[in-house]
């Protein structure tokens, strides 16, 4: 199999693009697609400081690497959740982030927030204490991560929080939201969530990249990442939908890309529209001052009461 650009040996075949590329031209392609996505959706520019949420996994480390290579002032944020799962999951993930910095970008800044050190309980303990999530701490975890990311971004005056969501992540969510006709979510799902009073902008520069391509990028660039997924993600609904979508992709190459991109296009053009839930009355939490629709205290602060 030959590279479509130089005729050398290809390392990846991207059937949805009818493109086979060698390592060098794949990295060039990946970088160019990411830059074009940033520009098309006006995510941020070279004058902005960007906070990259890193987990030690392939997507977030690929994103951080490509942003630094593109010359953006991208600083990393690792949130230590205290998840062990008999594999030392959180410790290994943090190790991967430190290793990435030391081996690839020694000049880069990595911010680390340890939830147990800062707030007194790890995520699994907190979920158990509060009896939330039916044995899985995922909803508590999401709530805490959103709060901490926003806090660090606001305190550090970052222009945006960048996350490593790839096209497979987005299309799996789109499929779930479509099957359940979650119109509020369908109205909001987008590569950019604009900043609002007290809430930092959130951007997803890898939304045009298949998950397989993000993994290929890290392998070619020699970036070590944590292969184990979060112990609590095993059997997750999102992974189930990703499996279904990859079966579809196998039979019909480009199906995932078409589903997602045509959804965005149809919504932008007005061909489809969803009734967006009205912005409820947002006011600052009495304790942390982050915006909330709840009473005095936001959902995050109520967790620790």
């Amino acid at each position: 199999m030959k590279c479509s650009r130089c005729g050398g040996t290809a390392v990846i075949n991207m059937r949805q693009h009818r493109l086979r590329l060698c390592g060098e031209h794949f990295v060039e392609w990946f970088t160019s697609i990411t830059q074009r996505t940033i520009e098309k959706h006006e995510m941020f520019d070279q004058t902005d400081r960007v906070l990259v949420a890193v987990s030690g996994g392939k997507d977030s480390l690929a994103l951080w690497d490509v942003l630094l290579r593109l010359g953006y002032e991208a600083q990393g944020l690792y949130i230590s959740l205290g998840i062990d799962g008999e594999i030392g999951y959180s410790d290994s993930s943090l190790h991967m982030c430190h290793q990435f910095v030391s081996e690839h970008h020694p000049e880069a800044t990595l911010h680390v927030v340890d939830i147990e050190d800062e707030y007194g309980q790890s995520i699994p303990t907190l979920a158990r204490t509060k009896q939330r999530g039916r044995g899985k701490p995922c909803s508590v975890c999401g709530l805490v991560k959103r709060h901490v990311m926003n806090r660090v971004a606001r305190d550090g005056d970052f222009a945006a929080i960048a996350t490593g969501h790839n096209l497979d992540d987005e299309v799996a969510v789109l499929m779930q939201n479509t099957l359940h006709w979650q119109t509020g979510y369908l109205a909001r799902q987008a590569p950019v969530l604009k900043e609002r009073e007290g809430l930092a902008r959130k951007v997803k520069p890898l939304v045009r990249i298949y998950e397989r391509e993000a993994a290929a990028y890290t392998l070619i660039r020699g970036i070590e990442y944590i292969y184990d997924e979060c112990p609590y993600a095993k059997g997750s609904t999102t992974n189930f939908y990703k499996g279904l979508l990859n079966q579809l992709e196998r039979k019909s190459s480009g199906a995932k890309q078409q589903f997602y991109l045509q959804f965005l296009q149809a919504r932008t053009s007005g061909a489809v529209s969803f009734a967006e839930e009205r912005d409820a009355d947002l006011h600052p939490c009495r304790q942390c001052a982050q915006p909330t629709t709840a009473g005095d205290l936001c959902a995050f602060c109520r967790l620790w009461e």
């Binding site: 998950e211 997750s236 999102t238 499996g243």
Partner: protein
């Protein structure tokens, strides 16, 4: 023989078959797999040689 590694499983296959054939025989979806030999990514048409160790990397993660 060719050694194939996938997650915590290891098995052997005869040399001379393509990576795509190995992935298919293992019942895996090539859309969610990458193949690595000696730490380098290889394409699905690569023909395996005697003594090769092929690692099949699953690319699906998240929750």
């Amino acid at each position: 023989m060719v050694t194939v590694i996938y997650r915590d499983k290891t098995w052997e296959v005869k040399p001379g078959s393509s990576v795509r054939h190995i992935v298919d025989k293992a019942g895996l979806n090539p859309e969610s797999i990458l193949a690595v030999r000696d730490g380098k990514l290889i394409n699905e048409e690569t023909i395996t040689q005697n003594g090769d160790t092929i690692k099949l990397v699953t690319v699906v993660s998240g929750g």
